[in-house]
């Protein structure tokens, strides 16, 4: 029963995220948009480029959606319901998301075309930029919880959420997750209007559908990650725990779209410079901050 509710909740929140993206980015309410988009991609022809790398061309979309789904698996939904209660959950989240980059590099390489390839290598550069801040922010939450288990991370936040306890870590994690989901302002790998769609340029039909779906699931799992690492997970008054999880997740996803629309696009070398000259020292400072607070 519980799992039914959670499954339906996941589907509903993914649907809601797509509708809200329509509202926040294109300023129109279209409640049927997800179904229409699904159908329109589904009836498209599968046009494949001429001299492609066949294995990678097939593997890339599947790897992309699989790791996005796997990243959801370790998060708890309420006090005692979690799909896989791994003792190394926080690290596993990181490890799954590293393969997003592998999938995009594959997708960029496979079609033997110039625009996707540039998009793929750019995302590699973006990984070099966002990887250190995201890892160090997670380490700081692990320090507070004294365990890498996600249940322990959420339970350590009773009373004071991590967003108050370590605001610097939250900001770094937030910016890094924008870069990881390649939303604007970090949407250089698929840069619409510059690279003709970048890594997705040569994918049509069902493969593009899988990519789009995987991207939405990726946004969902990253918002879920922020909810659990920094916003107290299932904690909240009156309502049952899983309702709070879904509410917070949808709110975080909406804030992604709003923030993305407000900022100008970053060039990828500027992303790298800001990350290594500002964000990495800040992340080290955040660890020191949490360390001193914990010892007091």
């Amino acid at each position: 029963m519980m799992w039914m509710i959670i499954g339906i909740g996941c589907l509903v929140s993914i649907y809601a995220i797509v509708v809200l993206e329509r509202r926040l980015v294109y300023k129109t309410w279209e409640f049927g948009y997800p179904v229409a988009a699904f159908a329109s991609y589904f009836i498209q022809e599968n046009v494949k480029p001429r001299k492609r790398d066949k294995t990678f061309y097939e593997t890339a979309p599947i790897l992309f959606i699989t790791v996005a789904v796997l990243a959801i698996g370790i998060f708890p939904w309420a006090e005692s319901s979690v799909i896989a209660n791994m003792a190394t959950g926080a690290l596993f989240f990181n490890a799954a998301l590293a393969y997003i980059m592998v999938a995009l590099v594959m997708a960029g390489w496979a079609p033997n075309a110039v625009y996707p390839m540039i998009g793929g290598w750019r995302f590699m550069g973006q990984l070099i930029a966002y990887s250190m801040p995201i890892v160090m922010a997670i380490t700081a939450t692990v320090m507070r919880a004294e365990s890498m288990n996600m249940m322990a991370v959420v339970e350590s936040q009773t009373g004071l959420w991590n967003i108050v306890y370590q605001p610097v870590g939250f900001l770094l994690f937030y910016a890094a997750s924008l870069a990881l989901t390649f939303l604007p302002p970090f949407d250089l790998p698929n840069a619409p209007g510059e690279l003709e769609g970048g890594v997705f340029a040569e994918f049509t039909g069902t493969r593009l559908l899988i990519f789009r779906l995987g991207r939405i699931i990726l946004i969902f799992s990253l918002s879920l990650g922020i909810t659990h690492f920094f916003l107290g997970g299932w904690a909240g008054p009156f309502l049952p725990g899983y309702v709070w999880v879904f509410l917070k997740t949808i709110l975080v996803a909406c804030s992604f779209f709003v923030v993305g629309n407000l900022l100008p696009r970053f060039r990828h070398d500027h992303t790298l410079e800001w990350s290594w000259k500002l964000a990495t020292p800040l992340a080290l400072f955040n660890i020191l901050w949490v360390g001193i607070l914990l010892l007091l």
């Binding site: 790398d53 294995t55 990678f56 791994m86 003792a87 190394t88 690290l91 596993f92 990181n94 490890a95 590293a98 393969y99 980059m101 592998v102 590099v105 594959m106 390489w109 033997n112 290598w121 590699m124 990984l127 990887s131 365990s147 890498m148 288990n149």
Partner: protein, 180 residues
Amino acid sequence: MGGNFIIVMNIIRLSILIILGLGAIWFAWRVFMTSSMVRSALSLLASMAILGMMFLVMEAEFLGVLQIMMMATEMSIMAIFMMMYMMDPGGMGNMDMSHQKKLSIGTSLVAGAMVIVAVSFSNWETIATEVPTPAKQNYDLGMELMKRSMMIFETAGTSILVAMIVSTATALPFKNKKDD
């Protein structure tokens, strides 16, 4: 009933290990058999990730997840360096890039066979059946890091520093003071 269940579990685990091992060997072989550079880098990644899964089956959870994660970034960086330096990274021309074939095949066969013979004829005394839970492993590994292996840990830090300085000093173009 309990005994039967354990035996079945052991057989399943053994067969998973064998399948994963064969997969790792297959991908490791593909690394040197293809002329497309990104393909060989990503085959190496697949082989290493399968090794990580074998660590997971052997219940070394932290090491397995860490291996799966580290290798993703490392091998992709390897792919970009291949792209930068190879004449023909796409492997469109099917160039042969190997030399001293007989010597290397002979050496590898001799080395592998020697190790396998040594493995199968040595006397492994007692095989442990139970391992600590992953949570306890994480805790104990941290304690090991802070107590007994502290010098190893700090030495690793200095060697990372040395590697950073060496690679920076070697790879970057000479700085021209007048340009600053």
